[in-house]
Symmetry: C2
DNA sequence: ATCAGTTGTCTATTGATCTAGACAACCATA
DNA sequence: TATGGTTGTCTAGATCAATAGACAACTGAT
């Protein structure tokens, strides 16, 4: 009977099949059916939404039309693809913001930490001398339980001593920076490229061999203009897309 | 035939009367019919949307159900109220942001400027000595041609010399501050109260006698924490509402 | 009083939506 | 092969959405 939070409305001017299609699209993008990669049977859905099986079939037909699902006689209705999460990229880009309703829960987990000497590229980006100590954080971004991105960030060790602990405590780069006195920061530059996944990323992001990674290389600076973070994030390309505001 | 940007869609699973009702609601909130405070005749709307008059009547009935319009036989359909613009109030509050689709055009005009000695209240808010010179800007906020708010802002004269010129050039406090080197600032505090309109505000905001003003008293600070702006804004209460994020 | 223009109401018809039931076609598995 | 579970298809009827036309009821102005 009940179908979760909001029941479908009759006589609302919106056809039942469309309301059901919209809800199922949301559920698919939420990863509700990821374990099986299949929709429940038409009969089950009809019972769940409290409508006739034919009405559910209309909704499924609409999703099939979008290429989101594919019905196979005798087997069931397979989920073909999910809409990708859209990450806005702007001066105020933060991993944990701007997703809106797209995901219920957005987490960031620490995978590894170390102190490294800055390579020439990183040193240039952070405006420090090559060889200077940097704190490196390897983090994993997770949306609704699904791994989304794997990121490696570098912070000048002198200014941001203890950011690893602050990050583990808060689960957020933004909050960790705030704890170290950085009220605000802006995205100074973002480069976007794409590569084939390899190494640890395949395991962390639970990718298939040959999967594509979207790679962003970003420099964040505090409001004084001093670079504070150099990061290289690898996003599973089949799960995200970027939106660059112009 | 054509009804502006997007035509209504048939066989979309969304009833025509609902699509038309939604578009008319937007038009009303946009102030498209403010000159007459009336909807066009049913026959005119039917022709404009390319549907039967009965379909338009269904849409109007839905709006009447919401209390947005009221049909009077022999006269026409009167517009009873507009949804109020919603201003989000948060650490990042700016007049010209956060309105989204609610208004097409949001402007801010300079009404008056002067240099005044800081009163005790203003001096305390800005963290300066009483009697110190301040630049006072009286501005009028306009959304889609309708006056929304009347604001009085004070800036320390020493640090922000020339902000009046920058404001006139850019039409935005945020941009004027940026031109004077304030990349970013945050809303430190906001107080909200309500009074009856009087004096110049009645004329500027084109209010009826006895109209209510929502008054916000706000202090903005730069990222270093130094107060930079003390402002008192009067909003026409029948045109706006605030949304405080918690 | 008359008239033009408006909303209100009624009937009739067509197509889309939704329900109900039955059965065929197909697949995986025991 | 037999069975249970799935999607595909067909028929029939009920309800909603939309069109079409006609006329009543009302208002404001001439």
């Amino acid at each position: 009977m009940n179908a979760g939070a909001g029941m479908i409305e009759r006589r609302s001017g919106v056809a039942l099949w469309r309301q059901i299609a919209d809800r199922m699209r949301l559920a698919i993008n939420n990863g509700d059916y990821d374990e099986t990669a299949m929709m429940p049977s038409e009969a089950t859905l009809a019972e769940k939404f409290g409508v006739n099986r034919h009405t559910v079939r209309s909704a499924l037909a609409a999703l099939a039309d979008e290429g989101m699902v594919r019905a196979v006689q005798g087997v069931g209705t397979l989920i073909e693809r999910r809409d990708r999460l859209t990450f806005p990229i702007s001066r105020r880009t933060r991993f944990s913001q701007g997703l809106g309703d797209q995901a219920r829960e957005l987490q960031s987990k620490l995978v590894e930490q170390s102190v490294e000497r800055a390579s020439p590229v990183i040193a240039t980006a952070l405006g420090i001398a090559p060889g200077t100590d940097c704190i490196r954080l390897d983090t994993l971004g997770v949306a609704d339980g699904k791994p989304i991105s794997s990121a490696t960030s570098y912070f000048p060790a002198e200014r941001f001593a203890g950011i690893d602990a602050a990050y583990q405590r808060t689960g957020s780069i933004t909050k960790a920076l705030a704890a170290l006195g950085v009220d605000d920061y802006v995205r100074r530059s973002t480069e976007i490229s794409a590569v084939h996944a390899e190494g640890a990323d395949v395991r962390l992001l639970k990718l298939s061999p040959g999967a594509i990674l979207l790679v962003t290389t970003a420099i964040n600076a505090d409001t004084g203009g001093s670079p504070i973070q150099y990061s290289r994030s690898r996003f599973a390309a089949d799960r995200v897309k970027f939106f660059v505001e112009t």
